[in-house]
Symmetry: T
Subunit: 144 residues, 12 copies
């Protein structure tokens, strides 16, 4: 049976491709999702779903809904990375292996971007590979 | 006339009973609410209502709605305890006496759980007694 | 053509006028908006709109919606000022000039109110002039 | 068989009722103990004893004496709360469940009162309910 | 009777217009004062005076001289903003309402520019609007 | 009627005169007390008493005993200066004007000696004048 | 031969008596100087001079001028206490025994007032006795 | 032409497989390199080399040698991650795109492991996927 | 003539052997003292005495009493290690060489246990060898 | 044409030679200037001028006057080094290459002397070579 | 069978005896090793080896080589004590009980010498007994 | 007899001239050494030697070798400047006057580059003059 995976994107990631292109690149997440991620998922028997919200509460609700329905969570919490202990707790509570991804290398930007309060409750972090960060997460899952 | 009280639970507390049981116990809040809190309230002429949300904004809205309608707020802000200055301000603005409760002893866990930004705007804190923390809050109110 | 401006108010600012009057004054934002801001806007050919929410996510959504539709954002993020890196990122991403306003002088209050995480992504800050802070922002825009 | 409980009060708590009344109220602990706590204890088959000292060493000695003789410790360490690692260690060493109580809400006062070095070795904390804080502790025990 | 206002500029502000133009713009304060501020003042019955010094002591002396002679102080302390507790004390001692202005958005520059030790003794802060920051201060006064 | 004053010395001050003479001088407190302080007190109608203890608890007890019996407390808390919040609270609770004295200039020694947790509850501090620090305190009282 | 002493007052101390009376009292320094200090000096064969400036540089110049002409310096650096390392160095360089005085108890006010950068280069500190702080300094000198 | 890649492992990584297995797993790097990485490299036309040293200087020398000879560096600096600014500078100086990998999730371990001084000079970070972290780095390169 | 040595144990060390055995071992100090330390002392012509107290003041008194009567002090201040500047001062004042011992490795436990305020006034520290830490101290003395 | 250079010395440097000789040496700056610096300047076709003030404001004024008239500034800001952001800004604004010199090695003295707030706006720093530090600065200029 | 022990000395310890004698004494480690340690080892059936290097990498290599060949490591990491997390990891990885020794009392010297990053991975610490610190370590081992 | 001097360069300085040219310039150290430093040395009877290593241990070894053979050390520790307490100790132990040089102005770059742990053990620091920093050090020596 196919493994079920959800990609959860946090605040402002809906603007990827048209936002600070020097940092985030000029490809929209939507195009990348359709052209690369979905195709990779299909080839590797992964059932992939995508969710984006600018609302911390919606993201927590969505993580809760994953209990019993998803095998992996790939999450880019956006700026919530740096203060949402509630998402940290949601991931810890749901017990589904999670991978934290970032488009840019958050460790070479402003000081406040260097701390992720989410990290202690995820399995691994992938940061800095542009939209390919998401694909690397999928590749890890496909070989697990 | 009965005093009117609301219990407000923050993010992830809907999972109590099925989440990190070693920390939060294995009884759901729902069962405890029905079996202990409601019965205690009835016996002591307290009008009790319950609200849970994973959304900071919903919690603030709910606090605002209490103005003129509730006599006490019992609040467990979950992980929002540690960064939601907006809930702090909502409690300060509504001028209804509030009691902050925590299921676990937040002062003996991770460092970041030791600071509550909510505390300066509540009357008192009860932390570490499992779900009984809520009942202690009710007991205080029933004797006030 | 009239310039289009939106005023975005964050959590608890709907209570202005009936909340800690010694800090925030006793005039409601609604009255001030109708009696002073709208009239000033009309006289100066400014198209003014108002939005308030206690939800960080709604504020971010609203900022996104401004892209292509607004020329200026006047924002009072309330207590979100002090931790919402997501609003910081939203303002930075939308590239619309923004003015951060505060009713009280946030620099003469509690220590945690002295830091705005929003400020690095706005053009300017106006703080401490009561509801007149909003009018000063409009006056700046009307002369820009 | 009745459970045996001791209330241990630290420095300056002998002055309660005649000390900074705006913070600590104007009822002496002695009156409250006789009029409320002892009566509650009797009704609930709790064997209650009271001890106060301004000496850290006496408090530690008294905690040691509890080993094998008491089932619960209710402790208000007064200002020792903020630096007596020795009391922390005494409580940890004696292995008797302890409840830390404070008359005032220590989290809304001076910064140095916000940190309790005792907390990591107690079961729970009750802070801010005036002398009722002690009663809440007894109520928790009576239902345990 | 006309209200009397003084604008006090601190160190290096005499160079505005020929100093780091990307930060401070290329218009001299003198031209702006004559072309915009004086004219605005006249139209609004404000009696305006201007004072600049690179000497902290001169600025304090000047603030003292305002007692009994000025109704408002508009002050841009330049780099003294960040360490002159003596100017803070002078403003607090003279009891004349003061407005702190900055040409650039000091909150989006070097870390040490983010802290104003002056702010706790002023009514309000206006920062980031170029030389228009001064005019906004006058506009506030003219409507007070 | 003579005013009643107590000098309270904290830990290790019984060794003054034979301890680190380069810091504390080589005169014992006892000799100084008899030869200078008592004589000054007599001449100025001050009723003087002296108390020394190495026990924080004894010092607190002694401060409590002053309530209703002493008009001034002169206290040199020794090393307790730097951590005894309990003595701070005792002084605040007893409401008797207190003067904190130190033999050496504590502000020019190790970093940890620069902070007095006692200071916020005393009227004034005299530090660095050798044993004369005590006499200055008496002189202030005699002229009050 | 009479000993020669200078009192040096820093910024804003010329306003004493008409500035924040709840902190600094309502007697002017001038009156106190004439009515108490000069008279005490005369009686005790002390040659007393007084100097006040709001300029750090003037204070340093004046300290330099004391070399070879004064036996003691009594200095109240006002707010310069908290940042003028240059005055610290001037006092250290001139090698004249200096006494630092403060009218109010600087250790019970804002956090930034608790640190004196001057203290390491003075003999002793007297803080909190109102204008009497100056007299205590004179008394110490008269008995040295 | 094949792209040339070097994997550089820092101190103690030669012990992987026989060191703290709960953290690092029980497979030796050597086996993994031969069985997975080399085979993947061959299939994807990547020229792969491996280097390990417990010497910071050797690692820096090796990075210098890559100039003109390698197209990518995959580096796991081991504990040097947390203090070797010299490796940071070496990577910055050689201008070859580098990927920082860690076997364990360094962000969920001791506090000092949460800061990488290397990160600002690499393209991206992959942390927490066991030895698969290296393979993900190769996968990224193979698709670049 | 035999050298005279005292072992001084601080708070809670009377419980060694029956307290957190995983940290402190399960042998009581009394047994170890009789079976190992006294016998070693006798064989090596050391005059050994033992003192324990939970009272900081008693420990300071006892250190004072050592002046002129003891040649070495072996001290395990228990949790007082981390805040008793008064014991630090007592050891510095008595000028008897002192050795600080700890049963557990205090540097691998909670952060607050990593700082000893006592250490700057002792000759050496021995930490982590169980009760043998005391014997090592004796061995050093016996060979000095 | 000769290059024009000014040496600007800050507070207390007029005392060099008669001030803390162990730190600053016993040669006056005046003698050194005449005997070494002027002669070197002459030989190397440098037009040299000297200015000293204990007033921050005078130093800033003097820096401003250099615009268009000097090719290099050699500055020893004395203790102003550690807090005068205004001098930092003056140097940055005047755009003349500046060299910061110190007689002593400021990095091996008190902690507060280790931070220069001036450094970010100068070309280079020379510290610790006694009065020769000034000559090294001249030597650099003469070869530029 | 004899137990096998290695003493590992870090940077600069080869200079002991001829380096800062007031801190480290004037006996060379070599003499002490031959005259005291080897003889003690022989008498107590301990197989002793000695290794010194100024290279962090060599020390790590040597620790690795101990696996399977040594029963105890006595290590004085010299200044590497304060930053070599790599040695910390090497000791943790090799699982051989280690004792950290220091010649001087590192806790009474510069602030940066008070923190050992090695300590959490050793059994015990002995600091301050001169070269005897090594002998105490051997004595502990000989009795284990 | 000629004085003997060694220049010691730390990690990555072998790349000078081909590394971040905007920071370090585009001249190689080798060329500069041959074309300027050696010639200057010859003219001034200085015996000059050069040593570079990326290995902290080699640098320490080389410093030790200087004992008795060199009169001055000129050291640019590269990034080791910021953490190598071992080099600090080596310089302190060898007692040869040392001069710390940096090509760039390290005080105007990243925060972590502002702290040199080496500085307290050198005579002086020269930073920011490009490769001329080395020559200034030689000039100082030639005139000493």
């Amino acid at each position: 049976m196919d493994r079920k995976i959800i990609i959860i994107n946090g605040p402002n990631l809906n603007l990827t491709g048209s936002r600070e292109e020097n940092v985030y690149g000029n490809k929209s997440f939507g195009s990348f999702y359709n052209e690369e991620l979905l195709i990779f998922a299909e080839k590797n028997d992964l059932n992939l779903e995508y969710f984006q919200s600018n609302h911390e509460g919606d993201i927590i609700d969505r993580i809760h809904d994953c209990i019993g329905h998803k095998d992996f969570i790939i999450i880019n919490p956006g700026a919530l990375t740096h203060y949402s202990y509630a998402i940290h707790d949601a991931l810890a509570a749901c017990r589904i292996p999670a991978i934290e991804v970032h488009i840019s290398n958050i460790f070479s930007r402003e000081d406040w971007r260097k701390l992720s309060v989410i990290s202690p409750s995820v399995k691994g972090i992938i940061s800095g590979f542009g939209l390919k960060s998401y694909k690397l997460a999928l590749q890890f899952i496909s070989e697990s």
